[in-house]
Amino acid sequence: MVISDLRVSVEGKEIVRGFNLEVKGGEVHAIMGPNGTGKSTLASALMGHPKYEVTGGKVTLDGQDLLEMSVDERARAGIFLAMQYPAEVPGVSNANFIRTALNSRRGEGDEVPVLKFHRSLQAKMKQLNIDPQFIDRYLNEGFSGGEKKRNEILQMAMLEPRISILDEIDSGLDIDALRIVAENANSLRSSERGFLIITHYQRLLQYIKPDFVHVMMQGRIVKSGGYELAEALEAQGYDWLKDELGIEDESALAEV
């Protein structure tokens, strides 16, 4: 996936302001940064949320123009966004939802056999330590914050995307749940799959070691490095970096 000079506005305000990044198969990129610097907006815009208006730039996945695609087309092309606040959809069972999603991706005539699907779903739920009853429960309805996050990872495991974007998957997770989620995300690392991990904290990155760490401020990447950059931020906070870069207001809405 190649993102070049991406600009995204929400309700007329530009939040992502010239974002550049290339994520190749097998790579894990972490995007860090304080609140309000445009990280989640970037994630939602890549997925195509209708509230986020792309005003400039280009995004391609395997050479295809991602921005031309509808939300479902992007998903079928291999983009997966583990959401910060997944919707609760009453009356739609988790299993039905995941199977429909999987079959939409595989296409007509190549639907996964029902038994095979359930075996695979059950195995993955076990890995994620998800209660088997969740199969028939309605999509995220009444799930705790941690259960929702695990359900996002379950979907990712079932759909096997090309690019996985994890938007603050660590928020609302206790340390054990974080470990389980991270282990499962790690097990999905492959040369075929790129990761974009959005987080405030270095904690998650201890479990999913990124190849690249980028810091986002004022709606763009202001510094890139390896894992040591995440460690430096954890030890010294963002103020150190702001001082170094001469940034006073890091927010996406800051005047530049």
Partner: protein, 429 residues
């Protein structure tokens, strides 16, 4: 609108024909005649937001005979459930009536109301018209005057029946339909009823009146489920009311689909202490459907509990009004009640109104909650499903089905559930 001359001549004739055909006892015939007089003299009621001034109360086709070939859907449904106690009525005529021998041996009575008026006259006389009185409203009087082909169910004390009792009414002629159902659950009995009303004919100008009376004697457990598919043209009046006595529980679970003009009341009178009731109804309206649905709970007994759950889905130019009404009368100490009314408008030309009503005469009430919402599909739900690769159209459909599924899943007969799903699927395309 005034009744036509032909109605004034033909309807009393129909009344005598029915009474003669079924050799009805004189008390029943006298009731029919008294009810007819009430029907003629009673005014057309005023219903807030639903105008009945232009609805015809005329009785079309004074003798109900099946005009067309049998409704295949109805026949297939009967064929799919051979071992279920069933009363099948076609255009007011009793097509078949069966109750398995083991149930009959336990004293369970299930037959057409005509048959019951002969074979169990004492029970019919004791209960008929006690829950839904002729005087309540013009169409209740109409039902008492002209009912045809209804069902009578009696479950004796402490008898539990697992399989549901099916009442199937299929209307293929253009004449008015007046199904009447009387259900008596004796103390400690437990059972369920599945009512199916299928209307095949469009553009009838007749008036239909259906009345269902359920008597839940102390500590009985009764589930009364219904599925109705009604068509445009006629005016439909439907009243299902239960008397819920001490420690009894009555649940109404229903699905209405169609493009008809309907005024429907589902009511529980929680007369006994510790009685409880729930009403869970979905309505799917299409075309120019006009539905005025009231789900009502009347609390009289102390520690009585009720729950109303309504879901509406409106498409095309359908226009539905769902009222949920709870009346806690003085003396219904520590009563508890919840209402939830959610309506989904799928087309910009469709309309939905949700009106919660609470009338509380008692100071000591345990809880009384209500929630009502009218809106479109939640764009965040659609986005979430699409973000997993599900195309928009499919995603919308899944969310709508998510609204309806939990209620449909509670219908006690699988073939009825399948039928309801197939009809709704056709309507929502």
């Amino acid at each position: 609108m005034a009744l036509s001359d032909s109605t004034m001549v033909n309807a009393p004739l129909l009344l005598s024909q029915i009474a003669e055909q079924y050799d009805e006892p004189s008390w029943l015939r006298a009731r029919r005649e008294a009810a007819w007089d009430k029907f003629v003299s009673m005014p057309i009621p005023r219903i807030e937001k639903t105008n009945l001034d232009n609805r015809s109360f005329d009785i079309v086709d004074a003798r109900a005979v099946p005009l067309r070939a049998e409704n295949q859907t109805a026949r297939e449904l009967v064929g799919k459930i051979p071992n279920i106690p069933c009363v099948y009525v076609r255009d007011g005529n009793v097509e078949s009536s069966a109750v398995p021998a083991d149930l009959a041996a336990k004293g369970v009575i299930y037959c057409s109301l005509h048959e019951a008026a002969q074979s169990h006259a004492d029970l019919v006389k004791q209960y008929l018209g006690t829950v839904v009185a002729d005087e309540d409203t013009k169409w209740h009087a109409l039902s008492s005057a002209l009912w045809q082909g209804g069902a009578f169910l009696y479950v004796p004390r402490n008898v539990s029946v697992d399989e549901p009792f099916l009442f199937l009414h299929s209307q293929s002629s253009t004449s008015g339909a007046y199904p009447r159902v009387l259900v008596v659950g004796e103390e400690g009995s437990s059972f369920s009823v599945m009512e199916v009303v299928l209307e095949e004919q469009e553009e009838s100008t007749s008036v239909h009146s259906q009345v269902v009376e359920v008597i839940g004697n102390p500590a009985s457990r009764i589930t009364y489920a219904f599925f109705s598919h009604s068509r445009k043209g006629a005016t439909h009046f439907v009243t299902r009311r239960a008397l819920v006595r001490q420690d009894a529980r009555v649940e109404f679970i229903g699905a209405n689909v169609g493009d008809a003009f309907t005024v429907e009341l589902v009511e529980n009178r929680l007369a006994g202490a510790g009685s409880s009731a729930s009403t869970n109804v979905i309505g799917v309206g299409h075309g120019r459907e006009r539905m005025d649905l009231t789900a009502s709970m009347v609390h009289e007994g102390h520690h009585s509990e009720s729950n109303i759950l309504l879901y509406g889905v409106l498409t095309d130019r359908a226009n539905s009004l769902f009222r949920s009404s709870t009346h806690i009368k003085e003396g219904a100490v520590a009563a508890g009640s919840e209402q939830s009314d959610r309506m989904l408008v799928l087309d910009s030309r469709a309309r939905a109104d949700a009106i919660p009503m609470l009338l509380i005469d008692e100071n000591d009430v345990e809880r009384c909650g209500h929630a009502a919402s009218v809106g479109k599909l939640d764009p965040n739900h659609i986005y979430y499903l699409m973000a997993r690769g599900i195309p928009e159209k499919r995603a919308r459909k899944m969310i709508v089905w998510g609204y309806l599924e939990p209620t449909l899943a509670r219908l006690p007969l699988m073939p009825v559930r399948d039928l309801a799903e197939a009809i709704i699927d056709e309507v929502l395309v």
